[in-house]
Amino acid sequence: MIVTAPSPRTLGHRLALPAATAGVTALVVVSLFVGVYDIAGEGFGTEMFFISRVPRTLALVLAGCAMAVSGLIMQLLTQNRFVEPSTTGTSEWAALGLLVTVLLAPTAPLIVRMVVASVAAFVGTMIFIGILRRISLRSSLVVPLIGIMLGAVVSAFTTYLAVSTNSLQMLGTWFMGSFTSIVRGRYEVLWVVAIVVVLVFLSADRITVAGLGRDIATTVGVDHTRVMLIGAGLVAVATGVTTVVVGFLPFLGLVVPNLVSMWRGDNARANLPWVCLGGVAIVVVCDIVGRVIRMPFEVPVSMILGVVGSAVFITLLLRMRARA
């Protein structure tokens, strides 16, 4: 299963990425043709294709990519395999930011909501990283536990705020990661995360080095603090935007980078395309399952991700323990 030393570049190696890309593209195409409306039908079918299917599939690709990559960055920055936006409290902070904007400035445009959610996510991520620095860690499991606890405190506050303003009902619908309501005009802001992913590609090496610690980073000439800030910022934007548009996508950032590094080893830069592809593949598959399982109704993608993700998470834990 684990491929070691990629030195003799075999044909298989060189073909792996294009083959995987082709596979994921095929999934994306399948996603375009899964749905209730008969798009082959006369007249309105084609229009429906562009109103509903294309935006939804694009949103899946963008959100899947963004959350998987966010997980990878968080794992590099904290040097911990169990960390991703939903186990560091980042998503919960984004949710709090969004709720506060809606309550204080109900008519604020989407862009304002996204900015506030991203800023809140950034603040939350920095708090998490700050706490990590102040405690001595015995076990790598403590890190996500702290994050989950932090997230629980924040979301408890969000829930309190929602209960006292009678918006609990809305809160539930907003943050349930679901692509059901994605149509033309309601996903476009997700393109922001495409920029984030590109930036991550450009700074992957520096993030990897910064993750090794301040001393090593400084030795090789990387401004540790700056890279930490940039990394956390990128994660915050990706999480904030995704949370506002589709809601929580739990475990995605955890499962994908871990599966990729189990299979290919830890080379962040080389793994990045795989993480992107993996994120897209999992989200698209989960969404297709969600669309088909109860046709013509849908099961939110977050529910399926939760089931798949927690299973993989437990498997990972058991494997780590076996190795230790």
């Binding site: 749905g35 209730v36 409306y37 309105f44 400035a105 009678n166 149509v183 005009g185 109704f297």
Partner: protein, 321 residues
């Protein structure tokens, strides 16, 4: 103070209060019985004897509020957060204690209100036993699941009529409901398909015929032809459905419950916005012909016999035009 201390204190005070009420009724029983009469009604749990026209009433069931308000009943405690500003005559004033929301009922206030009668049920059905402990004259009259909804509404109204000595008024409310239903049935053309929707948080969900808050009850009551006939998994909040699926079902009529209308701050996305501005729905006959009936903004907090009468009336008007 820690909760460890509060609990026994609360329990002790509850026990003391119960003992007191017990003593009081024991001592004053003969005198009271001469003055106040009682009536035996059949509520959701069976036969129960309650005082007629009780003085101190706590009502928690929102399906009864409009009726009680119309009949001039005053309350000593009410779930104020659930009532909004809908029933000022029931919830207004500091002398009306706040019974809290069903998620966090304020049992102490209900106890402190010292009620002669508690109208429990619906959202508050889970605390029935606790209410019974506070006041044995606790009735639950809300429409039961699985029963024919219209007759449940009439049954509820009749029970309340007996308790509050408003039998004529109750008969009138039931007659109004029947009339509205008959009108709507007469105006409806069964060849036209209907779909029920619930909107919340900017998303549209499907309300299954026969289930799902208000919208669903229209189908069996009026004999509507569903555009999409599927059982519900989530009857009270609706099932996740895409605009595509709504478009594919191609309904002639839409009945829409806007859950957020009541709480909606200025910026909330209204059902009208969601449905009439959806590109994917522009070819659906209901949208094209503007055959969409929106339920009253307060419906979701009301759901009583008057709310349904109003709903069936608006259905009748819409079908007739």
């Amino acid at each position: 103070m820690s909760t460890r201390l509060i609990r026994p204190l609360a329990a002790a005070s509850l026990a003391a209060a119960l003992a007191l009420t017990g003593c009081a009724s024991g001592a004053a029983a003969p005198a009271e019985q001469a003055a106040a009469t009682t009536v035996t009604v059949e509520d959701n749990h069976g036969s129960i004897e309650v005082p007629v026209n009780p003085e101190r009433v706590v009502a928690l069931d929102n399906t009864t509020f409009e009726t009680l308000s119309e009949w001039g009943v005053t309350l000593v405690a009410a779930p104020k957060p659930l009532m909004y500003d809908l029933w000022p005559s029931l919830s207004g004033g500091d002398e009306v204690l706040d019974a809290g929301l069903h998620r966090e009922p304020n049992i102490e206030n209900i106890l402190a209100a010292d009620p002669d009668l508690i109208v429990g049920g619906y959202r508050f059905r889970e605390i029935y036993d606790q209410l019974k402990d506070i006041q044995p004259a606790t009735i639950e009259t809300s429409p039961r699941d699985g029963e024919e909804h219209t007759s449940e509404l009439k049954r509820q109204t009749a029970i309340l009529g007996q308790v509050f000595d408003k039998n004529d008024e109750a008969t009138k409310l039931s007659a109004d409901l029947d009339a509205a239903i008959a009108d709507a049935k007469a105006a409806y053309d069964p060849s036209q398909t209907v779909m029920g929707l619930i909107t919340s948080g900017g998303k549209i969900s499907y309300a299954a015929p026969g289930e799902g808050r208000g919208v669903g009850h229209l189908f069996p009551t009026l004999g509507l032809t569903p555009a999409l006939d599927r059982a519900a998994e989530d009857a009270s909040h609706g099932d996740d459905i895409s605009v595509e699926a709504i478009a594919a079902a191609n309904p002639e009529w839409l009945f829409v419950l806007d859950r957020d209308a009541m709480f909606g701050e200025d910026g909330y996305v209204s059902a009208k916005d969601l449905i009439e501005n959806a590109e994917a729905l522009k070819n659906v006959p209901a949208v094209q012909k503007n055959q969409i009936v929106y339920l009253d903004g307060s419906f979701y907090l009301d759901e009583g016999i008057q709310a349904y009468t109003k709903l069936y009336r608006s259905a009748a008007e819409a079908f007739a035009s």
